[in-house]
Point group: C2
Chain length 332, copies 2
Amino acid sequence: MSQILLSYGSGGKLTHQLIREIFIRYFDNPILSQMNDSAVFSINGKVAFTTDSYTVTPIFFPGGDIGELAINGTVNDLSMMGAKPMYISIGFIIEEGFSIEDLERIAMSIKKASREAGVEVVTGDTKVVEKGKADKLFINTSGIGIIPEGVDIRGNNAIPGDVVIVSGTIGDHGIAILSQRKDLHFSVEIKSDTAPLNRMVEEMIKVADIHVLRDPTRGGLATTLNEIAQSSDVGIEIYESEIPISPPVENACNLLGLDPLYIANEGKLIAIAPKDKASKLLEVMHKFPYGKEAKIIGEVTQEHPDIVVLHTRFGSHRILDMLSGDPLPRIC
Amino acid sequence: MSQILLSYGSGGKLTHQLIREIFIRYFDNPILSQMNDSAVFSINGKVAFTTDSYTVTPIFFPGGDIGELAINGTVNDLSMMGAKPMYISIGFIIEEGFSIEDLERIAMSIKKASREAGVEVVTGDTKVVEKGKADKLFINTSGIGIIPEGVDIRGNNAIPGDVVIVSGTIGDHGIAILSQRKDLHFSVEIKSDTAPLNRMVEEMIKVADIHVLRDPTRGGLATTLNEIAQSSDVGIEIYESEIPISPPVENACNLLGLDPLYIANEGKLIAIAPKDKASKLLEVMHKFPYGKEAKIIGEVTQEHPDIVVLHTRFGSHRILDMLSGDPLPRIC
């Protein structure tokens, strides 16, 4: 069989065949292979638990695909609480007629991403809907991570005097997706930055008492900073000249009239930490491939609580609001 | 606004508004309301972790809706490991143009079902896809439960001599959904049996060393018994005359040429336990509304391992195979 049939979602023989031949084959581990209604394992301590559904289109894009994105996204959501990501669940909703070859390609990519992040897919679910009732493939990943003792990283922990660090160039993921949708041909191919940030975070929390970590996905850097400002009831000031943006992304944004501060990232983080730990933090981040361009881009202030202010390259400043409207639906 | 727009999935202002005005409003609890990238709580011991996506159509049906089904389904998957369900994540994939009134109705139903089962929705995610790219609303629920010390219930634990108990009438959910799809009008309205089984399971595991628990959802009683037989490498024999089926479901199955043994249930369980504990177990089950028609329907045998045999009402017997094909897609 080369295509997914409705019967693959029936719970009967074909569902078992699909699970055995694709999911168990690629994701095999002692917990998953027990094939019970739930995965069973032991945990002691503080845990983080998160969920995300992925509806990105196209499902294969420069720099990654929906499978890798689904693993990295959930790994990063756990990491943003300082947790060590451990266990992942995967739920597939597949459109009838979807290619089994593409499903295997995605399963392989999930396997590779799980291995890089050091997590295990321990439980899953597959549903199939009629042709035209879903767009190819949607994936939900939920995840559980363990928070090391003493770590307390939360969106409402930012305090005046803290620095704002970003781990690298912004806007790459959103522009990579957009380039595929509009069939735009830039002179340089722009790749998604999808990446697991957990190993870098693991080292970061060893050297500094980080107050807030967030990955600026949907809504981009500007929206995420607004969430932090509101949650912590502080002001944030950032400097346009300090924000790392790759020249191809900057050119694409200029061409398309988009503001890179609102474009999604899938392998970047914002860290808010005490100023006196900033150089130590940057030193650690620069050692990792996903943090080698990390920079301080601003600071947390007592003034203008709940408001993010951008100091432009031209010396002026303006309020940076949350995203309103949606320039790029189904980016993740 | 009366309809979901693409911008509600942007991660920006409208997403925050939707989360605040619907999800936080209905599901509010101290963990969820922190609005971090992950929910944080403490756990000590053995846990069960499960995921399920729900694509049922229609989303409102006699006896329930997709929201209630999503909570009960995940609560039951955890219960089938003997776990006490605790924390639930919800991921919505919503089709552009979906009615906000219907979304609120579903949120209310999720709230009600969570309360009945005693679980909390602690984290969530919302994606919106363009009109025609999904069918109204899909929901993923993942869940975490705590397994009490000493409890070890697994699909591969059945042993010869055990009895097979079913908690009540079979086929109700599948036929309730089918009645809506084909616009069939039966003289008696058939309602879905969607229900949380955790409180009954909690008492059951106190009185007997249960070997296997399973909820016969997709694929029905026959498929689930086959899974258990294969997993435990035992034979199973069941008696048609002992299997509880409500007369309206039996009539509908006759009319439609369907075998109720393959029809989905959403509020029933199969328990496999030592014979000498059977009467004690039934006594406990009969005290619960969702177990008052519990019955012994068969036994586990050493003969014909991996095979389920049905003794018919007419004194003959035949092999009962797993579901092949799919008589009823999108039943859950």
